[in-house]
Symmetry: C2
DNA sequence: CATAGATATTTGCACTCGCAAGTACTCTCT
DNA sequence: AGAGAGTACTTGCGAGTGCAAATATCTATG
């Protein structure tokens, strides 16, 4: 019914989804065990912590966190309610706003990121050699860029100005 | 604050999540455009379609679809309500049940899977050479198995009988 | 065989997310 | 300047998911 080759390719895509889901669960549990709140929105906090001035435009953050604008609004609402993030209106464009880590959010990340990094180190050390890891990462980047481009192309009927320089994590 | 190496590794993990999310969105849109219902539960239907007798134990299906047992119950409920899947009590163990494709579900998949496969073909052809694809797939498999094992180990305090032969996709 | 402890699955409840519509602001063209 | 189109973000609402507790069934042990 389905050719051998297509079977393998379907499996490859399945493996991608399973890997991502598996690692997400793993990190989620680990973050839970080590103190701090283990929201899905951890991702958002990390990206803010790694940005200039600990702030990012909402739309930029939405793309990076793989959320829709609406999903991001709610997520930032929750983080703001916890006092970890605050909104700052963008002076250049009053439609837009920045999400910015509060000092309390910054403190939380200072405490949490090292733990998270050590969890990541452990996984990658266990699974890959350094060379393999670099190779794997470059494959992922290609795939990510491709998916991003195709999704943008679908959203905006014919906008050619795809920014190729979406910042990483 | 964070070392260069750790930075890259964090990026790698971020890329994994973004790739998975990006492809999921892409396939979701494509499935939507070509007729059939584009539920997230498409994944479940595919796995059933590729199993012996078009049926799978609920618990097995939950692992394969990266859902919790409770999440799977609801998902199968919905599919059953649409007439695509039915429940069959397991004769050997009356606690358990099988989810099985109905003839209508089978028909839907016969019609839908080829389209899905062609979408996958297009992505992989565009992004990878055959060799790279094989390499990438083997990396993903290692990562998936690792995450699965570690998550199981966490769930069952000290059960060593981890089945290494979880079927693919 | 009776009972305690595991296992497979299902519900109650709360939370998160996406889509479509709404609001506020900016840009363009005349 | 002013109308119209486009952009950035926010809400109403419905749908999917996980966690914890409940239910039904199996299994091991005395």
């Amino acid at each position: 019914m389905t050719s051998e080759a297509s079977d393998e390719r379907m499996t490859t895509v399945g493996l991608l989804f399973e890997s991502a889901a598996g690692l997400r669960r793993l990190f989620h549990r680990q973050a839970e065990m080590s103190g701090a709140s283990a929201n899905q929105s951890f991702d958002i906090l990390i990206r803010l912590a790694r940005s200039d001035g600990n702030q990012l435009r909402m739309s930029e953050l939405a793309v990076q966190a793989s959320l829709t604008p609406s999903g991001l609004t709610r997520a930032v609402d929750r983080l703001a309610q916890q006092g970890l993030v605050s909104r700052r209106i963008c002076p250049d464009d009053r439609r837009g706003s920045f999400a910015q880590l509060t000092s309390s959010g910054r403190a939380l990340m200072d405490q949490t990121i090292p733990e998270h990094l050590s969890h990541i180190d452990q996984v990658l050390d266990d699974v890959f050699t350094p060379d393999e890891e670099a190779q794997f990462s470059s494959y992922l980047r290609r795939l990510r860029d491709y998916a991003l481009e195709r999704n943008l192309a679908a959203g905006l009927p014919c906008d050619e100005s795809v920014d190729p320089c979406i910042s990483d994590i």
